[in-house]
């Protein structure tokens, strides 16, 4: 049974006041808060088990290694990877995309090839491909979106050709909330021989992902948007592709034998994990995924739909509010502009009412350019949010309008 009071009490940070008002944390698309079990797992590691992994023969190192690899196993199960070898720890989704662009892209992309992305990508799924195109002479193609903030499928289909070598698509847009039809995108891309990278940074806390059912080549995400710590994320790739790719960074842990003439690289996944990893981060990530599993995506999805529907109804009835992003398939994000109040002024004013939202371009400047707005205000919801917090947001919006009336 879904018990909102129990869930809220799992997150110690939520029970505080900001400027004398109860905190309404509605900036979950930027980062989610962390449940006590994640905080405890990280503390426990440093209090009891801290040691370097894959090295020592002593007890602490054995324990640290077991916990670190245990987290990898949890993550592999969560995304239904074929094995733990397909799960590469990175600093986050951004580094995972850069890893693919640099390693796979460097080995496979040449002048005349095309990389196809969409107009709603986060900068992290634009710039690494631009850099790759500059290095190789390949061309970056961008599939357009419509006024609702949805990918225009016919235009995407037209841009997808035998020249397309990689398709990079966001699973769920952080700026608009749009959920893309990734299963059909992947199938179409494979039909022309292109590989597919799905940016799951925003989606993975809200939607169940099965990388085998999707047949996706690369799926990336960040722990901190899934109730886990910052500084850790994953690249989940098909083993056959990862094995064919050259290393991304050189260093310790990614080698088998080093001589000054030549080095031999480790097996997967260690080939891509040079240097001492973010051990406590991985452990916290594993615990965060167990937390998500303990609630379950059925309950999470149902609750988050209720919250979005409640907020959307309020938004539609709010005078002078224009929603940015009204896709039929969307989740958890209410992006908007208010007539006569700039998003930054809104952000400051609602903050004084205890309501935390994001104001800005959400690292998706092309989306702002498309909708001809310099910035938007964005409220984004998570499983621990309540209708009362959404009410607090709209009361604060009214106050902002009054100040500028």
């Amino acid at each position: 049974m879904f018990d909102i009071e129990q869930i809220r009490s799992d997150f110690p940070i939520l029970a505080q006041q900001i400027y004398g008002k109860p905190l309404a944390y509605l900036d979950n698309a930027a980062t989610t808060q962390k449940p006590q079990c994640v905080i405890d797992a990280i503390s426990h590691y440093y209090e009891c088990d801290n040691a370097n992994v894959h090295r020592g023969v002593h007890a602490l190192s054995e324990r640290a290694t077991a916990e670190y690899e245990g987290a990898r196993k949890i993550i592999a199960g969560f995304f239904n990877a074929r094995s733990e070898r397909e799960v590469i720890f990175t600093r986050g989704a951004t580094e995972a995309i850069n890893l693919v662009a640099s390693s796979w892209g460097g080995a496979n992309i040449k002048a005349g090839d095309e990389i196809l992305i969409t107009h709603m990508e986060h900068h992290s799924n634009i710039v690494p491909w631009q850099l790759l195109c500059e290095r190789t002479g390949a061309t970056l193609k961008v599939a357009p979106i419509n006024e609702a903030g949805e990918l225009i499928i016919e235009a995407f289909d037209d841009l997808l050709t035998e020249r397309t070598k990689l398709v990079g698509v966001v699973h769920m847009s952080n700026a608009l909330g749009t959920i893309n039809p990734i299963a059909s995108i992947i199938a179409k891309a494979h039909a022309v021989g292109a590989k597919v990278l799905i940016d799951g940074a925003q989606a993975a806390a809200h939607l169940a992902v099965d990388v085998q059912a999707l047949d996706v080549d690369f799926y990336v995400t960040s722990a901190h948007k899934m109730y886990g710590p910052t500084g850790i994320g994953v690249l989940i790739g098909k083993q056959s592709i990862l094995e064919s790719m050259p290393p991304y960074q050189g260093g310790g842990d990614m080698i088998r034998i080093v001589t000054f003439e030549k080095s031999e690289y480790s097996e997967l996944p260690y080939k891509f994990e040079a240097g001492t990893p973010h051990i406590s981060g991985a452990i916290g990530f594993g615990k965060a995924i167990e937390y998500i599993q303990s609630i379950g995506f059925d309950a999470i999805g149902k609750r988050e739909k209720e919250l979005l529907a409640y907020a959307t109804t309020k938004a539609e009835g709010f005078d002078g509010l224009r929603q940015i992003g009204t896709a039929a398939e969307k989740a958890c994000v209410l992006s908007f502009v208010l007539k006569s109040v700039h998003p930054h002024d809104l952000g400051t004013i609602v903050d004084r009412e205890g309501v935390a939202i994001r104001a800005g371009h959400h690292c998706a400047m092309p989306v702002m350019q498309f909708f001809k707005v310099p910035a938007t205000a964005r409220a984004s919801f998570s499983v621990y949010n309540t209708e009362a917090e959404i009410d607090a947001l709209f009361i604060a919006l009214k106050k902002a309008q009054d100040i500028f009336a």
Binding site: D345, G360, P374, A375, I403
Partner: protein, 151 residues
């Protein structure tokens, strides 16, 4: 604790709603672009400094939050008709005001109506909004062009 009205005083709301000296000057010999990548605020300033070193006319255009628009409006009002040699002192005075300790009372005599912006001290993430126009003006004045441009 500061009230929101300390930041969004009526003067600021008014200058945001009807900014003074808004638009492009017909004659100008200095201009510069200002951009705050964090929030997307964009600003362009124009000024016409005459042979006596007086700021004969000054204007700005662009888009931004209320603090940034009001600050640019107030800045142009303050500089218009003043010797360009006074700019550096005014720039420093403004910078000091928006970054000073909260218990320091702004020097209203020296700052004039610019003092209404002293409330941003309480809102660290908004200080840049208030100071963007001053930095833009500084670069306009320092990168002077030989001849006045006409459009």
């Amino acid at each position: 604790m500061f009230d929101l009205r300390d930041l969004y005083q009526q003067v600021i709301v008014d200058h945001n709603k009807s900014p003074r000296n808004f638009g492009k000057l017909e004659f100008f010999n200095h201009e510069a672009d200002g951009y705050n990548p964090l929030c997307g605020d964009r600003l362009h300033v124009y000024l016409n400094v005459n042979d006596e070193g007086l700021i004969e006319d000054v204007s700005f255009e662009g888009e931004g939050c209320a603090i940034s628009v009001a600050s640019a409006s107030l800045m142009t009002d303050t500089l218009k008709g003043r010797p360009v040699s006074e700019f550096q002192q005014k720039f420093e005075g403004f910078q000091h005001m928006v970054t000073a300790d909260l218990d320091e009372t702004p020097d209203e005599e020296a700052l004039g109506k610019l003092a209404v912006l002293s409330g941003v001290r309480e809102f660290p993430s908004r200080i840049k909004c208030a100071s963007l126009c001053w930095h833009t003006m500084k670069s306009a004045i320092e990168n002077s062009k030989e001849a006045a441009k006409t459009e």
